[in-house]
């Protein structure tokens, strides 16, 4: 035991095995100092509500990324056929189109977009609530072509766009389809 160590009885006090009154009088000052140390422990409760949607968004994003791997062999054959059958011509530059996404969700605390244009990442494309009516919007500039997407409400609920056609994603869910 070095000169800076607590007396064994004071350690018992800190452990809650004895009280200050149980200490001999010569250890009272040391005991009081030890209790002041414990009184400084920060026991404030911590809440992390974002963890739920962060976890569920991670799982959902991973599931959707997995789908292209399943389809990869079929897509590779299809792509090869397109290349073989296509007349040779210079590739046109993909045009960009500005699109406004809208979802009415009065009870939502946050809404985002996840789709093929952002690798199904529900964190990167948030919608903004406009006024108090529960209308959420986002304006994106996307390359012409077909895109699949879904709205992510409060990080956990993936909902297709009610105003757009949808296709089955192969796992029993619906993805909205946007053709530009």
């Amino acid at each position: 035991m070095s000169g800076h160590d607590f007396h064994p009885l004071v350690k018992q006090l800190l452990d809650g095995d004895i009280t200050l009154a149980d200490l001999p009088s010569e250890l009272r000052v040391e005991g009081e100092a030890a209790l002041r140390l414990l009184a400084a422990v920060d026991r404030t409760e911590i809440s992390m509500p974002a963890v739920t949607w962060r976890v569920m968004a991670t799982l959902e994003r991973r599931r959707r990324r997995f789908l292209p791997w399943l389809l990869a062999p079929a897509l590779a054959i299809a792509a090869a056929l397109v290349i073989l059958l296509r007349p040779t011509a210079p590739a046109p530059t993909a045009a960009l189109v500005t699109v406004r996404f809208v979802l009415v969700a009065p009870d939502a605390k946050q809404v985002s977009l996840a789709g093929t244009f952002n690798q199904w990442d529900a964190h990167v494309t948030p919608l903004v609530r406009t006024g108090a009516t529960g209308v959420w919007t986002a304006t994106l500039t996307l390359p012409a072509g077909q895109h699949q997407y879904a709205f992510v409400v409060d990080g956990v609920r993936w909902v297709p766009d009610p105003g757009a056609p949808a296709v089955d994603d192969g796992f029993g869910r619906r993805n909205s389809v946007l053709t530009l």
């Binding site: 026991r43 409760e45 799982l59």
Partner: protein, 181 residues
Amino acid sequence: MRSGPQAADGEIVRAVLAGDRESYARLVERYRDRYARYAARMLGSADAAEDALQDAFVRAYDQLAQCKDPDNFIGWFFLILRNRCFAERRRNRTSASLEAANDVAADDRTDGGAESAERRRALQVALMELTPDQREVFVLKHVEGLSYTEIAERLSTSVPSLKMRMHRAYDTLRELLRDHT
């Protein structure tokens, strides 16, 4: 197969394993805050704790089939989170003390008593100087309020071994906080 809102942990785990992935959100919701404080005190930062919790829940989902006692999901999950916290501390030993001080300092703005706030901040910084084993037993006993017996059960160790770690922690804290006690 979908579990109800009051379903037991085991029922939810079995539902998730049967393909009801969304029920997992209920387990996350149920337990995310219970160990948020543990992770924050172990890592010295609320941001690092949030990342650790997220990673631990995703890892638990990936390994859910290995949960031998689904009715004790939380005991199993705690060990995953604990491993994650220990690994994180090995990676980021240098920056945590400063973050710990900043995190507590942020609380001070909403809580009166500059002197006690300073003592709290100093203790949190000192906690980061303990070994992870010592810090863990201190956090579980004095922050989470568990008894030595409960901690021993959770960590599969003995009470005397925990007391030895704790008593070393007391001495180190006393040395580090000489000017504050």
